[in-house]
């Protein structure tokens, strides 16, 4: 990389790789088209309340925590697993760092940084525990993380003494409201982290191993990939993302609590699946996750803006998921407009 020219070429190459890892274009295009359709529909239906700067600012502010939790779940899915404990990890991270923040040390700038680091570290440790249960004891991911979700939630409850950890320093709580040119900083932070995740899954050995492990765990074992190490890294990364989400949540809520975000687990899975992440492993799309998170948030905000009750919003989200997946399955046949040249996937194994 001494040669500048070569560096630039490599840059282009990595960009291309990251873009290609961001999703099979067909499904991403469909998702984008539908998302834009949602925006146009609600702009027409409720121009006064939907089509406002405030509303879009709200969208950008409300999306980060869901997007980050979904990214974490997507990573677990990439490795062929699932993480149901992300919300519990987020809350535990928020509580742990909140407890440091409310001490006298936390009031100082260094103390605050320490508190934040501690929160993320706690989250990573939680992830490592998940990974160890899954790869070491080979507990199915859905059960392991269900159990740890209870455990982390319970630890959070004990640490916080049952009450919300509040009176956090204003330096921390204002963070959620900072905007650059109308774009909330937490949204930019989310994009940055998404970029980092994209880098990890495309351009690092561990990222490639996570994908291969998720694609075929048996073949990964026969290829000399250490399932234990890779799984633990995956869940540690997922935990870390959940930890940042937890910090964003407590910054936005000005407090940390155990009962926050219970609706996010299923929402996170929905976002990941909607984005086109394969729940059976081996495929992830970072852009898709961000777009899907925004699309779902837009859908619910839009429906609220036209005065529909939140019950209908949940019907709409469920129907949206089924419809998008059905389009992905049948889209090639029904909507030739969206068809892209793709390698034919024979359903059956090659002839024997």
């Amino acid at each position: 990389m001494n040669d500048q020219n070569q560096g630039a070429r490599m840059g282009r190459h990595i960009t291309a790789r990251i873009l290609s890892a961001m999703g099979s274009r067909g499904s991403l295009v469909r998702l984008l088209v539908v998302s834009i359709a949602i925006v146009i529909t609600f702009s027409a239906l409720a121009p006064t309340s939907f089509l406002t700067v405030g509303n879009f600012e709200f969208l950008a502010q409300a999306t980060p925590e869901v997007a980050l939790l979904s990214l974490g779940i997507s990573l677990a899915m990439l490795a062929g697993g699932i993480d149901l404990s992300v919300v519990a990890i987020a809350n535990l991270a928020g509580i742990a760092s909140g407890l440091v923040m409310v001490t006298p040390i936390g009031a100082t700038g260094g103390g605050l940084a320490l508190a934040i680091l501690l929160g993320v570290a706690v989250a990573v440790v939680c992830g490592v525990i998940n990974g160890t249960l899954i790869a070491g004891l080979r507990v199915p991911p859905i059960l392991a993380t269900l159990g740890t979700s209870q455990l982390y939630g319970g630890i959070g409850l004990v640490l916080s003494g049952g009450t919300a950890v509040s009176a956090l320093p204003t330096a921390f709580t204002d963070f959620a409201n900072i905007t650059f040119a109308g774009v909330p900083l937490i949204f930019l932070l989310t994009l940055l982290l998404a970029g980092l995740v994209a880098f990890v899954v495309t351009a690092t050995p561990v990222g490639v191993r996570i994908r291969l492990l998720g694609a075929n765990a048996v073949a990964a074992e026969y290829s000399g990939i250490s399932a234990r190490r890779v799984t633990i890294s995956t869940y540690a990364l997922t935990g870390g993302l959940a930890g940042v989400a937890g910090l964003i949540i407590s910054s936005r809520a000005s407090s940390a609590d155990t009962n926050y975000g219970s609706s996010y687990i299923l929402l996170g899975i929905v976002v990941a699946v909607l984005a086109g992440v394969n729940p059976d492993g081996g495929h992830i799309t970072i852009t898709g996750v961000i777009v899907a998170a925004i699309a779902l948030q837009t859908l619910s905000t839009g429906l609220t803006a036209v005065g529909v009750s939140s019950d209908v919003v949940s019907i709409a989200q469920g129907a949206f998921l089924i419809a998008m997946l059905a389009v992905n399955v049948y889209g090639g046949q029904v909507v030739p407009l969206f068809r892209r040249r793709r390698f034919r996937r024979a359903v059956e194994p090659a002839p024997a």
């Binding site: 790789r17 050995p205 291969l212 075929n216 073949a219 026969y222 000399g224 495929h283 390698f343 002839p351």
Partner: protein, 506 residues
């Protein structure tokens, strides 16, 4: 193609099953091209051909497990563009699949009886009745089988017997047997052939698939030879000799293979195994593979040959014994450990154990060298791609792009990817389990040539296989396993298909 004509013998008898101009493509690869075969009542019709010639695919199309790309299946005079399995069974088609297609969580009796009870439209699952059906079926085949053990816990041989019994439980008019003897001893093969004889007398049309020439001559009334998805010729066994049939199957005069006998004498063995054992599976396994030597390890399915290979490869490590590579003792506890010791393993089941089917070819190739091609935690993507591309070119993998998924490749090309990924790692020993199963003839020759070339460069190669011509053609020595022990060693002086066959199925 000129040989495939309606010969006069077919004239008066109406075929039970006819495949008419069947073609089938998988991901752009032609598995079958315009194949027409007739199966007559009371006739054992052998489909002969090498691995990958399309025999199994043809049977799967007749049984409804696959849908043909073109052509139709005619059963008792009615033409069907495609069939569903249920429909085919209802029409009297019964198959013993190569992979057995058993239900691992049900016991043997139920595996045998449930399809029949389903076909009969029964609603109540009577244990008594299931046992009765199963006992009759195993009686008919002269098989001994523990009927109340879950099939997943049976040995490979017993699973094969169970699959045979299931097919015999049903009074079918057409029975296809796809490599039904791979796990059986001679005694079991004899009773299977007796059962086949009785069915023939009852007027059942039988399709018999095998790549073991002797079996073809033993049971067949008619032989159809397939090569690369096309019918090459058809006739009665008396028209053929071993040599002419073999030539028809491979398209070459001789299966003999350019092979150097130069074992790198005086240098430490590439692989030395001493007293290897694993509880209940195998024991006392000792042998060496010299540098530049190609050693075969043969035995029936379930003889322990795969277990020994997987112990050496670290997949399921051995409990006792020693393994050394290039003279250095290594403690192999995991695949990673084996890989870093210099042992590479190409597993038996390419599709589930070897490849990441939906992932790019490039990633499949480079999985073994990710760490080597990384700096500061980041992949040196360009260098890695170069290495993969070079290997792909060396092995002549036919693909437009390394970004395409492996699934888009034919069996032969996929196998090259699998071998290539280990060659990139530059191991001292390459252990291959069934290296040419499901590979077309051209690729088979290429793959064996690649192995030959690598052995000339000093790589020690251990081939686990029951493909007798392949073993004879490529190996310097062949070791034979039975019941978890090494029972014979055939060196180049007395290495032939007949000697191996005798040793493995004694």
């Amino acid at each position: 193609m000129s040989t495939m004509t309606s010969d006069p013998e077919h004239g008066s008898v109406r075929p039970v099953v006819e495949a008419e101009s069947i073609s089938k493509t998988f991901g752009g690869v032609n598995a079958l091209t315009d194949v027409t075969v007739r199966f007559l009542p009371g006739e054992v019709h052998c489909l002969a051909g090498e691995n990958g010639s399309g025999k199994s695919t043809l049977i799967k199309i007749i049984s409804g497990a696959e849908v043909p790309t073109a052509g139709s299946i005619r059963i008792s005079g009615h033409a069907y563009p495609s069939l569903r399995p249920q429909q085919a069974i209802r029409l009297g088609v019964e198959v013993i699949y190569q992979d057995f297609s058993l239900l691992p969580n049900l016991d043997a009796a139920e595996n045998i009886a449930l399809p029949l009870l389903t076909l009969e439209g029964k609603r109540v699952a009577s244990r008594k009745r299931a046992m009765k059906i199963a006992e009759e079926a195993i009686g008919r085949a002269g098989i001994r089988l523990d009927l109340s053990t879950p099939v997943g816990d049976l040995t490979v041989a017993d699973r094969q017997l169970c699959a045979i019994a299931r097919a015999l439980a049903h009074n079918s008019t057409f029975l296809a047997m796809d490599e039904p003897t791979t796990a059986l001893t001679w005694r079991e093969v004899d009773s299977l052939f007796d059962a086949v004889g009785r069915l023939r007398e009852q007027g059942v049309a039988i399709a018999f698939i095998s790549h073991k020439l002797q079996e073809v001559f033993d049971v067949a009334d008619r032989v159809t030879v397939l090569r690369n998805g096309r019918i090459v010729e058809t006739g009665v066994p008396s028209q053929y000799t071993h040599e002419s049939l073999s030539q028809g199957m491979t398209g070459r005069k001789s299966t003999s293979f350019p092979r150097s006998s130069a074992v790198w004498a005086g240098k430490p063995a590439a692989l030395r195994v001493t007293g290897l054992g694993r509880s209940q599976l195998f024991e006392g396994i000792s042998f060496t593979v010299g540098q530049g030597e190609v050693v075969g390890l043969s035995g029936l399915l379930g003889s322990g040959r795969t277990e020994v290979a997987e112990a050496i490869a670290g997949v399921h490590p051995a409990d006792t014994g020693h393994i050394s590579v290039l003279g250095e003792e290594c403690d192999i506890r995991s695949v990673e450990g084996a890989v870093s010791a210099g042992i590479a393993y190409v597993p038996e089941d390419r599709l589930t154990q070897g490849l990441f089917l939906d992932q790019p070819i490039g990633d499949n190739l480079s999985v073994t060298i990710l760490s080597k091609f990384s700096r500061a935690g980041r992949i040196r993507a360009r260098a890695l791609r170069e290495a993969s591309r070079t290997m792909s070119a060396t092995l002549r993998i036919k693909t437009r792009s390394l970004a395409a998924p492996v699934r888009s490749l034919s069996g032969g090309n996929a196998q090259r990817v699998l071998i290539g990924k280990w060659l990139l790692r530059e191991p001292a020993v390459l252990v291959l389990n069934g290296p040419t199963v499901g590979v077309d003839v051209g690729s088979k020759f290429d793959i064996l040539s690649i192995l030959n070339a690598e052995s000339l460069r000093g790589l020690g190669i251990l081939i686990i296989s029951d493909d007798l011509p392949e073993l004879v053609a490529t190996c310097h020595r062949v070791l034979v396993m039975r019941g978890g022990r090494l029972v014979d060693e055939l060196d180049s002086a007395n290495l032939s298909e007949a000697t191996i066959l005798e040793a493995i199925s004694a």
